[in-house]
Symmetry: D2
Subunit: 138 residues, 4 copies
């Protein structure tokens, strides 16, 4: 699936989620952008942990979709996240997801999140997704 | 800190977060309730992963506060979560947090989340918190 | 499976692993003991991280076996571990595993490891196992 | 520290650990090799989970040492690992560790493990290390 197709699918399947766009799809995975707004922030202007969790999770979901097509039933079975640095105030977040395994039953990927304009990652995550039976290729 | 004190502190420090209440504080940790509403749901009525992540994170934060007092600067350094079962539609979530370690620098806890009315956990999580220097007891 | 059956199975399938015994099997899960010896230690006499990882992993495997019988092909897909306190020198380790989910495809459990004679946990872990197709109950 | 210095330090501080060599140190982190032998294997010839855990852990430790010098007291506080594919029989393992954060108190890194001769990762891991007070740079 191409970036706009993935976004259209996400808009349709998850209408309450907004602010996310797919900036790149390639052989390794995807890059996703979050346009940070007030509802994503904690007092002091820092992006909340659950928001960064959601960004990592959606980036992984987009990476899976980019390979197996519009499968709504792929679900997160597990996730692990480290919050390493405070994101830069007033900046969008960019999440780079590498799809490390796309198996018949499970998919595994990792994500580095950074503030736009900076190279150092603010958070890292790894996610495991369950691939539903109808989408299994064997 | 007692349940109402913890809630008052959370309301003050994190006004954008709502729906959470502390139902119990004891020697092991705390229990926290989330009054589930539409904004917490994905299509199909299931509670979203980021919502369950936030519930686990706040339960751990409340557990830390219950021991060291109103410390706003304790922050999540890492978290791990497994989504095991679909939560029951239309039910509140209850999160039981055990504080496993309260060190000078780091705190570690685990959380089991279940739907009210059911015993089987829908998710499990573990969290690590950083304890800020002023609150270090040695 | 009962404790001695599980141990016999482990001895047969994993002859290079030794020192482990199953001390209890119940409705929640299992308890496993590691008789700590020099090969498990780092300089200074502390039990090594990989040893505690192996103990947690075997405790989870034993918990899965106790429910679905002697299945050699159940394998660890993921694990998460926090090292919280130094184990007591010269003491055996006890690992308490709770089986939190035994699904058709995945099993999830958590483990608390403590030094014999002490109540505070030295490490916590969570593990996810893949259940092979032949053993799937539906 | 350079590769041979790191290996000499590891040999001195952890004499029971063997088979590991540092193949590269650069701005991103390190690469470490494990010369796989019988004691690392489960029946069927596959490298054991605890062995891959140890490899990831040592790669991270080497990455930390490469930046802050010979600090024996840096210890693993947490680790997360996914086993994705069976390693190739009879092949060495190579672990690539990226040091993502080297803070005053905590260091965070991730690791991809692959079989020599293959590009696809057999396992991924993330590790958190505690930096002892004397080595803190502020």
């Amino acid at each position: 699936m191409q970036p706009q197709e993935i976004e259209a699918f996400l808009d349709r399947e998850f209408p309450q989620v907004s602010g996310y766009s797919v900036t790149r799809v390639d052989g390794q995975g995807v890059e996703m952008r979050l346009a940070v707004e007030d509802r994503h922030l904690r007092p002091g202007g820092t992006v909340s942990g659950p928001t960064m969790f959601e960004l990592a999770d959606l980036a992984m979901y987009a990476a899976v979709l980019s390979r197996i097509g519009p499968v709504a039933l792929a679900v997160t079975t597990g996730a692990n996240i480290d919050f390493m640095r405070k994101p830069a105030a007033g900046r969008d977040l960019l999440a780079e997801c590498r799809l490390l395994k796309l198996g018949n039953v499970l998919a595994v990927g990792d994500v580095l999140i950074r503030s736009e304009g900076a190279e150092v990652p603010v958070a890292r995550a790894s996610l495991t997704y369950s691939i539903p039976p109808k989408s299994r290729r064997n």
